[in-house]
């Protein structure tokens, strides 16, 4: 028996060493005085499931596609302006229905194909027909694409939309190659014009990329880039402390001190565009009663909510609008913490109980604090903890069976992003709003080119929200990223779709 055991262990050991053989890390000298790491690893808590930029639209995938693919234009958050990427210049027609773009003529895809206007037509058509999370941004907005010549393309819209350039800058509008996709439906979409070639993608584990030596733009010293999925935040930070990874997205707030203590690490705090807010279902039940809504608005201790839900690392939100989103307005000020006033409102309401639906632990903590606050004015709150998919289904615009919920929305920079929270029919309209004036204002804002006028429209929406308390803004989450001190070249974004493509790690 002993022999059997020993031999079992031996077999196990040998196999292990065979596996271990391939995982050494090489470091080499490079040009200039500073030496850079050849292989860089970035860790995140969400998994990447596909290399097709048009199939999905979420943060972790956007970070990948910003490396592997290019869009026609890009948005520079720091300077708040659009910049050329695959397009060199663009021009709107006077009726705001046609956008004409001039394209670069020196770009090739990673498979060697030349980039032309035909690829733009193919890519955008593909998005429209794809029926993915990405396509909802194009369907109903873009009418068709006209190829003028090899390097000129015309985009014709269904109706005027001044935020259209922003959509073009999203990673989902990346340009893919027709030949590659026709040759291989699964891996073809991986091929873009970006600096990084996706070589290996194991969903639930990692994405491996190597540098494209024929990239049309400025290249980095880094040769290999890996995005790794480490779901537990503690384990992710330990991997960084161990030097196994160079970037760790979202270390737990209680563990930030380990980053600060470590001389090799650095903590980056990014002003966040993510707003956590309380949403009443205004279409039916207790949430449809304005008195109840205002009662709750005046009894919540917002500082406690921030302290409990995000360990105090959030910034108080006055409006539920994104802080870097076009049209932000907070002139109406905060709700006063006034229990007497809250009691008066509650007395006028027929409802004395309210259910809050939540899905994760931070929101659960926030709900528990609100529950305790509401108890002081005699409002009973039940908390319903749901699975993410269940909550999404329950709170969709058409179903809207929730009474209230705590929601976090990551805001983009363009003004019409407000449609997600306020637009009729939008499933992220968790208040189930269909207020006529709000819908009118959104429509006006979408097609208005006058800056002052457009900002006024959006300010009015936010003021209306403050008066009617459909959404109670709670706080903006604070984003932090822990990195190896040598990391440079990353563009950190408030909406979390960071651009890793020019990442370098000095040794």
């Amino acid at each position: 028996m002993k022999k059997l055991l020993v031999s079992l262990i031996c077999v196990f050991l040998i196999c292990g060493f065979v596996f271990a053989g391939g995982s050494g890390e090489q470091k080499s000298a490079s040009a200039g005085e500073i030496k850079y790491k050849d292989s860089v690893v970035c860790a995140d808590g969400s998994q990447i499931t596909t290399g097709d930029p048009q199939a999905i639209n979420n943060l972790q995938h956007n970070r990948l596609f910003k490396c592997s693919h290019n869009t026609l234009v890009s948005y520079n958050t720091a300077e708040a302006k659009y910049e050329p990427e695959l397009a060199t210049s663009w021009e709107w027609s006077p009726d705001l229905l046609t956008l004409t773009l001039k394209l670069r003529d020196d770009v090739t895809f990673q498979n060697g194909e030349k980039f032309t206007a035909k690829d733009v037509e193919y890519s955008y058509k593909r998005i429209m027909e794809m029926n993915s999370t990405a396509s909802s941004k194009f369907v109903g907005v873009l009418d068709h694409v006209e190829v003028v010549d090899d390097y000129t393309v015309k985009l014709v819209l269904v109706k005027p939309n001044v935020d259209w350039l922003d959509t073009l800058a999203l990673p989902l509008a990346s340009i893919v190659n027709q030949k590659a996709i026709e040759a291989d439906e699964l891996k073809g979409p991986w091929i873009g014009t970006g600096m990084w070639i996706i070589t290996d993608l194991e969903e639930g584990d990692f994405v491996h990329m190597v540098k494209n030596d024929n990239y049309w733009g400025e290249k980095t010293e880094t040769r290999e880039l890996t995005l790794r999925y480490i779901s537990e935040s503690s384990a992710r930070l330990i991997a960084l402390q161990n030097g196994e990874v160079d970037v760790c997205i979202g270390p737990a707030s209680t563990e930030k001190s380990y980053v600060l203590e470590d001389p090799n690490l650095e903590l980056i705090e990014i002003p966040s565009a993510t707003c956590c807010y309380f949403a009443f279902n205004t279409s039916k039940g207790p949430g449809s009663d304005e008195n109840l809504r205002l009662a709750l608005a005046h009894c919540i201790n917002y500082d406690d909510v921030i302290l409990g839900a995000s360990s105090g690392e959030g910034t108080r939100a006055i409006t539920n609008w994104g802080p870097i989103t076009y049209g932000y307005y907070d002139g109406f000020g905060d709700y006063t913490y006034d229990l007497e006033l809250a009691k008066q409102y509650l007395a006028k309401s027929a409802y004395k109980t309210l259910t809050i639906s939540v899905k994760d632990s931070a929101r659960l903590r926030a709900a528990q604090i609100i529950q305790a606050n509401a108890k002081e004015i005699g409002l009973t709150i039940n908390i319903e903890e749901l699975e993410a998919a269940a909550l999404t289904a329950k709170s969709a615009f058409k179903t809207a069976e929730h009474e209230s919920m705590i929601y976090t929305l990551g805001w983009n920079s363009y003004g019409d992003d407000a449609s997600r929270a306020y637009g009729k029919g939008s499933n992220t309209n968790k208040a189930t709003l269909s207020d006529d004036r709000v819908m009118e204002l959104l429509e006006l804002g979408r097609s208005c080119t006058d800056d002052t006028q457009r900002k006024q429209y959006y300010a009015e929406i936010q003021t209306l929200n403050h008066e009617h308390a459909w959404y109670l803004p709670l706080f903006y989450t604070e984003l932090s990223v822990a990195i190896n001190k040598g990391v440079s070249g990353v563009i950190w974004e408030g909406h979390q779709s960071h651009d890793y493509s020019r990442i370098e790690v000095s040794l």
């Binding site: 055991l5 196999c15 596996f19 995982s23 596909t50 639930g204 584990d205 330990i238 196994e244």
Partner: protein
């Protein structure tokens, strides 16, 4: 013997049909659906309808199940809704990782619990016996994510001996294997102890002792060999449990195994991935159970005769009684 093996394999078929139907049915009941996963929360009505049609969600669950089974009959495990990859590819990249973890956990469990079990059987009723059992139970009662993180902090962060997670060769198997293996320890130690106690008092051991064989040899060679069958059953059972994956340990160690494949895709309502992964797990589990039963015959030649047609039921009864 052949007849027995064939019968056992054929018996898997109704189970697979039942399992697959149940998963389909259960996933249909579960909240959320693949359509929302695919088009996101802010999709238009037309998009949703088109997708529903594409994936058969405008028809009943029976239609979808029938279509799936038809594919399965042709050896097609289907394509993932989310990744658009063949499910077989997804499963097969995960299986070796889960396999190594399961084997590692069994090695840890065997290595720790057999000595503990033998010692407690030999010293049955004493303080040593009780402390061995408490030690074995500690592993069971310690939550895996807790033990896992403590191990990572100590052996990976402080000592730097092993990587903190992921599938990175042999050294990365050690910590998760310990985490799972110690959880298996309790049952295995207990089984070893009780079957050793059964054997230890038998006459032939007295004979062996009388012949002058050393006590150590009596225990390790004569007694243990005869006590091995129930232990083998437990090892088989634990390997099976391991093949199904260990969700929590896998998340703590970011281990890309089958357990997380199933749970991740349950959350994303990807029915083909979940169903296939569970079917594959069922098949492998069935095969392991069969292999364990056949191994009995190797360990104990007396059992061989029982695999004749008459003997089959008796063997099954005996196994379940254990």
């Amino acid at each position: 013997m052949h007849r027995y093996v064939i019968k056992r394999i054929l018996l898997l078929i109704p189970v697979i049909i039942g399992v697959s139907f149940m998963i389909y049915f259960i996933m249909d009941l579960a909240p959320g659906d693949i359509i929302t996963q695919l088009v996101g929360e802010d999709a238009s009505e037309e998009q949703i309808m088109a997708l529903k049609h594409q994936y058969g969600y405008d028809r009943s669950v029976f239609y979808r199940y029938g279509k799936y089974m038809l594919g399965l009959l042709h050896g097609d495990l289907g394509t993932s809704y989310i990744t658009k990859k063949p499910v077989w590819d997804m499963y097969i990249t995960r299986l070796p990782k889960t396999f190594w973890l399961a084997v590692g956990a069994s090695v840890v469990a065997i290595g720790l619990s057999i000595p503990l079990g033998i010692v407690s059987a030999v010293k049955s009723g004493s303080l040593i016996d009780n402390s061995c059992m408490v030690l074995a139970l500690l592993g069971l009662s310690m939550p895996n994510f807790w033990l896992g993180l403590l191990l990572i902090i100590e052996f990976s962060l402080n000592l730097g001996w092993v990587p903190s997670g992921g599938f990175r060769g042999f050294s990365s198997v050690i910590l998760p294997a310990i985490t799972i293996g110690t959880g298996h320890m309790a049952v295995m130690t207990r089984t070893t102890r009780s079957s050793m106690i059964d054997v230890i008092r038998q006459d032939y051991l007295r004979t062996a002792r009388a012949k002058g064989v050393s006590e150590r040899k009596v225990i390790t060679k004569h007694a243990f060999r005869n006590a091995f069958i129930p232990i083998l059953t437990i090892i088989g059972g634990q390997l099976c449990a391991g093949i199904g994956g260990a969700v929590i340990t896998e998340s703590v160690f970011s281990w890309p195994g089958v357990g997380r494949l199933i749970i991740d895709y349950v959350h994303q309502c990807d029915v083909p991935v979940v169903t296939d992964a569970i079917i594959m797990t069922t098949i492998i589990t069935g095969v392991i159970h069969l292999a364990v039963d056949l191994l009995y015959a190797v360990v104990d030649p007396r059992i061989k005769g029982k695999y004749s047609r008459k003997g089959i039921r008796r063997v099954r009864v005996k196994k379940e009684a254990a």
